[in-house]
């Protein structure tokens, strides 16, 4: 078998991609929080998202 | 095969012609060149001392070319400004003559082609690189050699001695065929054949070379 290192590298890459795809990973950034109270369903305004206070993009061309 | 024996006209020693096709031979005792004229022999010249022969081939060496056994019967030695070579006269078991050329330990077997496939250009018109197409192969002139005859040995199929400066043209093909145009006669003579490896000839009865095992 020629190029054992390259083959191992390639198989590893494919393995990683397979796992990532299977577990539904993506490159988007998501912030995980715990214990969101049930009251949010009745009062959505009480919950503050992690992203709520980030600066916004203003304006066009 | 008959082996006519006659007497050397010069010294009287027995001259044996081993090959029925041989026309000329050399008396081993007095080195006279004798030519067979029917029953009698005619002395036509004397052969000078030949330079030491580097080739392991000698007269009576046997070999095989394309499954046909042959025996080395004679030799013509040529010389030119940059070197020299041997043309060994080889005789096959059916009596046919061929030539084993031996130049710097490179070998080729050729046969005279009569008539020539086309009229050959005269010596003044032949040049290196000239091409011919004969028998389905492209021949190219690779070497032009103005040579002179240096000596003869053994039995030859024609009369050959004391020729003056003669031009030879070597021709080669892409599949190792070999040819020579011999300008010693008019019209020039053509010999065609191929390059051969020493080992392929399976030569026996070679001359022992001092310091080397075969």
């Amino acid at each position: 078998m020629s190029h054992p290192f390259y083959l191992a590298y390639g198989v590893l890459l494919l393995g990683l991609v397979g796992v990532a795809e299977y577990r539904g990973l993506s490159l988007n950034s998501v912030n995980q929080v715990s214990n969101v109270p049930r009251t949010v369903r009745d009062n959505p305004g009480a919950y503050r998202s992690h992203y709520a206070f980030l600066p916004r993009y203003i304006g066009g061309k | 095969m008959s082996q006519p024996v006659a007497n050397c006209p010069n010294c009287g020693a027995a001259v044996r012609f081993r090959f029925s096709s041989a026309v000329q031979s050399v008396c081993e005792y007095c080195r006279s060149i004798v030519v067979r004229r029917d029953v009698n022999l005619e002395r036509v010249g004397e052969v000078a001392d030949l330079p030491p022969d580097p080739s392991p081939i000698q007269i009576t060496t046997e070999g095989i070319y394309r499954n046909r056994p042959f025996v080395v019967a004679g030799r013509i030695l040529y010389e030119y400004e940059q070197g020299g070579w041997n043309e060994w006269h080889i005789v096959f078991s059916d009596g046919k003559s061929g030539w084993l050329s031996d130049a710097m330990a490179e070998y080729a077997v050729t046969f005279g082609v009569i008539p020539t496939p086309e009229p050959l250009p005269p010596a003044a018109k032949i040049h290196r690189g000239r091409r011919f197409r004969w028998y389905g192969a492209d021949y190219q002139v690779t070497v032009l050699t103005p040579a002179r005859y240096r000596g003869v040995e053994g039995e030859l199929p024609f009369e050959y001695w004391d020729k003056q400066q003669v031009l030879f043209a070597d021709l080669r093909t892409s599949d190792a065929r070999f040819g020579t145009i011999d300008y010693s006669e008019r019209p020039p003579l053509l010999f065609l054949g191929e390059s051969v490896e020493f080992d392929a000839l399976r030569l026996k009865n070679l001359r022992r070379v001092e310091g080397w095992d075969a």
Partner: protein
């Protein structure tokens, strides 16, 4: 196995120094090492042919008379010469060793900067042709590209030779390469001689002739030196192709094997004029199967405006929440260059690795509320479970290409360095060449 070499002893006609002749009847020219005179070995009186001047006495790396085993035969070194070409006013010289075996004939060993070649005369003519716009020859099914052509002169000579020549004589030499082999054509007015050479590492020469010490190191890259990278290049790309094919198959499998189930869809409006709490929650929907992604698609009717949506995907039972936000903007117009557009009305995000369960989305939309005008947008939310995600495949594909590209670049670098030495002359040939 050979018996002890027999040599013929003579004396130099010019200076009386002892000479040895090893190749018996073949030798035509013998050189006296002491007075650098070429003598006619055919002549019983050993006539003087030429006395030459040398800038320096060159000692052959393989002493004359040494015997060695190469390619299944024993050879004796009987002659040595140094030849020189001039390329763009720079002289380059190399050594040639004449090898002799009375049954096999003559061979040559050439040496340049520690690179060796084992050379034999060719009996079959190569076919002259062109390849990639350059001169080339074809021999036994291989194409040899023209590497160099120049006029070569002998500048130094020792030992004995089966032909007669003079120091200073020039022949026109053309070299063609197909590493590890090379073909040379040497032309004079009346003769062309073709030869085939095979690259030999110095170590092999030293072993063959049982020479002491180490061989001189090879400097630079020689014309027909085999590339250490050559065979690798083809095979690494073959492996790459196999891996990329596997990757493509995986991509296909995932695109057909994913659930791609729409679990929720609804339309909404938002306006900065709305009073009170703008955030809201969607109804609960079920995400099934193994932990996989969740696609949230937002299709808007934005016109030269932007909207910012904060999302939280909340598991109704466990209280796990996943925060993410999207910025959507779309601007377009016409100016002196034509029509332009920036951004897009629609957006798509994949939330990674969400376990199965009952979920709902908390949405908090926002728009420009600083400039006094009222901004509004209508949008549709679509949530799908387990969709294919291609960026990983593209990234893996690129990463797979990196090693073979590296190998190819390295091999190309070697070849480039090889051809740097070439003095290839395309159209113009020096005078004296009539073909």
């Amino acid at each position: 196995m050979s018996t002890a070499p027999q040599v013929r002893s003579l004396n130099c006609t010019n200076c009386g120094a002892p000479l040895t002749i090893r190749a018996g009847g073949h030798t035509l020219t013998v050189v006296c090492a002491r007075c650098l005179t070429l003598l006619d070995a055919r002549d019983p009186a050993l006539g003087v042919l030429q006395t030459f001047q040398a800038r320096q006495i060159v000692q052959p790396l393989i002493p004359l008379g040494t015997r060695g085993e190469l390619r299944g035969a024993t050879w004796e070194v009987i002659g040595f010469q140094v030849r020189e070409i001039v390329v763009e006013s720079v002289p380059y010289s190399w050594s040639e060793y004449l090898l002799y075996n009375p049954f096999k004939g003559f061979r040559y060993l050439t040496e340049y900067d520690g690179h060796w070649n084992f050379v034999a005369t060719l009996r079959a003519l190569p076919e002259e042709t062109t390849a990639r716009g350059r001169q080339a020859v074809r021999y036994q099914g291989q194409t040899y590209a023209c590497f160099q052509s120049a006029s070569a002169r002998t500048v130094f000579v020792l030992g004995e030779f089966p032909w007669q020549f003079r120091v200073g004589e020039a022949v026109y030499v053309a070299d063609y390469i197909a590493p590890p082999r090379a073909i040379s054509a040497e032309r004079t007015q009346n003769e062309v001689a073709w030869s085939l050479g095979e690259y030999l590492p110095g170590g092999e020469v030293w072993k063959a002739f049982k020479l002491p010490g180490a061989c001189p190191p090879a400097r630079g890259i020689y014309s027909n030196q085999p590339s250490p990278h050559g065979p690798n290049t083809r095979s690494v790309w073959t492996v790459c192709l196999a891996l990329v094919a596997l990757l493509a198959a995986m991509m296909f499998l995932f695109s057909v094997g994913t659930r791609q189930e729409e679990v929720f869809q609804s339309s909404y409006t938002f306006s900065t004029a709305m009073k009170g709490e703008t955030s809201f929650v969607t109804p609960v929907f079920e995400l099934k199967g193994r932990p996989s992604n969740v696609e949230v698609k937002v299709d808007t009717d934005l016109e030269n405006d932007w909207a910012y949506l904060s999302f939280t995907l909340i598991n109704e039972q466990s209280g796990e929440g996943f925060d993410f936000s999207r910025e959507i903007s779309y601007y377009h117009g016409v100016d002196s260059d034509g029509s332009w557009s920036e951004g897009g009305r629609d957006d798509r995000v994949l939330v990674p690795s969400i376990p199965a369960g009952r979920y709902y989305l908390r949405v908090e939309p926002d728009m420009n509320d600083q400039d006094g005008a009222t901004h509004s947008v209508r949008y549709q939310l679509r949530v799908r479970r387990d969709v294919p995600y291609n960026p990983f495949f593209w990234i893996a594909g690129l990463l797979l290409l990196v090693p073979p590209i590296f190998v190819s670049l390295r091999a190309a670098g070697f070849e480039k360095a090889r051809w740097q030495e070439s003095s290839y002359v395309s159209e113009s040939k020096s005078d004296g060449e009539d073909e």
